[in-house]
């Protein structure tokens, strides 16, 4: 086994961590890492030290439901609900009867009412700048599983910044969809599940590299547009096939 120069190990570890080391070189380094404990330690150390970047990331407050669910997973009793077990025993018969009634109602309803349309129709959006110039055209697939974005002209992206696409919902915070890279003629994004049901529009914001550090746009909105629904049945079959 060839051993790397100790000093060089550290430089190569940083390049490995940042994806500069590629292809066969990367695979070979990974093989060497498995056999060379010192190299493995240096790479771990490099990763650990770059983790200081994470200390600068804004915190995201967890929801009470998340903590409760985590406690359940860990098997730790929830301090907020110390009497939950005994309460469950008391209320179980009531819940059981209620569940049976609800189930009967649902089955009756489903037997009488035809099923709803399973997917929302295809939609388009013209994303316009604050000066009302159309800068992107968006086509959202039937079912809202994906969105195709086409720039109109060359989008202006400030140096050192990135454009982040957001799904806008009527009564919910915006949901990040992805980034628009330079020199792309068009791009298809998967639509986050959370954004599929209540999508009312799309927007682009200017964000730092890697995107907004918050769960909402932090930079200026350079364009936004409402969704315009199209009848799914009127779309050309080939277009529907491509988008769905």
């Amino acid at each position: 086994m060839r051993r790397l120069d100790p000093d060089f190990q550290e430089a190569i570890a940083a390049e490995y961590l940042l994806g500069v080391l590629r292809g066969a070189a990367r695979r070979r380094l990974e093989a060497m890492r498995r056999e060379d404990l010192e190299l493995d330690r240096v790479i771990d150390l490099c990763e650990t030290r770059f983790a200081a970047l994470g200390l600068g990331v804004p915190a995201l407050e967890p929801t009470p439901a998340f903590r409760h669910h985590l406690r359940q997973k860990l098997g730790i009793a929830d301090l907020d609900r110390p009497q939950s077990a005994s309460r469950t025993r008391i209320w179980f018969p009531v819940f059981a009867v209620a569940a049976v009634v609800v189930l009967a109602l649902v089955l009756t309803w489903r037997a009488l009412i035809p099923p709803p349309v399973p997917r929302p129709p295809m939609a388009v959006s013209l994303i316009r700048s604050p000066t009302h110039r159309t800068i992107f055209v968006a086509v959202v697939s039937a079912g809202a599983r994906s969105v195709l974005i086409y720039p109109v002209g060359q989008p202006s992206i400030p140096s050192g910044r990135t454009l982040e696409l957001w799904a806008l919902e009527a009564a919910h915070p915006p949901v990040p969809i992805g980034f628009f890279a330079k020199a792309r003629r068009g791009y298809r994004y998967g639509m986050p599940r959370a954004a599929r049901l209540h999508l009312v529009g799309l927007a682009f914001s200017v964000e730092p590299p890697g995107g907004s550090p918050r769960p909402y746009p932090t930079g200026p909105i350079i364009g936004r547009g409402p969704m315009t629904l199209l009848a799914a049945t009127k779309a050309h079959p080939r277009i529907r096939h491509r988008l769905s």
């Binding site: 790397l4 120069d5 060089f8 550290e10 430089a11 190569i12 570890a13 940083a14 390049e15 961590l17 940042l18 994806g19 500069v20 590629r22 292809g23 066969a24 070189a25 990367r26 070979r28 380094l29 771990d44 490099c46 990763e47 650990t48 030290r49 770059f50 983790a51 200081a52 970047l53 994470g54 200390l55 600068g56 990331v57 915190a59 995201l60 407050e61 967890p62 998340f66 903590r67 669910h69 985590l70 997973k73 860990l74 730790i76 009793a77 301090l79 140096s159 050192g160 990135t162 990040p176 992805g178 890279a181 330079k182 020199a183 959370a194 590299p209 890697g210 995107g211 550090p213 769960p215």
Partner: protein, 194 residues
Amino acid sequence: MHDDSSLDQLLERFSRGEAAAFEPLYEATAPRLLGVAYRMLRNRASAEEVVQELYLKLWKHPERFDSLRGRAWSWLIVITRRQCLDLLRRTRPETPYESEEGLEELLGPEDRVRENSLLDRVTAAEDARHLKQCLDGLSADHREAILLSYWNGWTVDETARHLGRPLGTVKSWIRRGLQNLKQCLGLKSQYAAP
């Protein structure tokens, strides 16, 4: 924010199975770890999934923490980032490398390290503010290339595609960025000037 030593103690108590340590550990770490995971995954549900998995690992496999005592925050962030990268790689198609290059090329004389270790200096600058100051001092291109690579776990090919720039250019940006980062941290050039 808890410092590493107090966090060490909480982690140790928690990993010994002391349920009472959960609440203070959670209060001290969950918001920041969720922030890191969200930064990478851009999705709250996925971020919560990753952080939940981290606590489960701590609870069930405490031995994994033993070797990194004294670096509790860094270690937690590293594990969070790795789990995020795993999730990203599972959910996005594998991007093949566009070309290959041998290790020999990377071990060329122009890349030899002649000076003190970059990592030693980064250790001294573990204060996130110092590192951030140094990053802020990089040119926008260099900083963007480094941060995109780090936070997304991208290869240089993926970063180049995202930026719409040639592979060699972006590779050079990252290397020069590392070089300048090192200079900011008080060292001489680690890489030969291109």
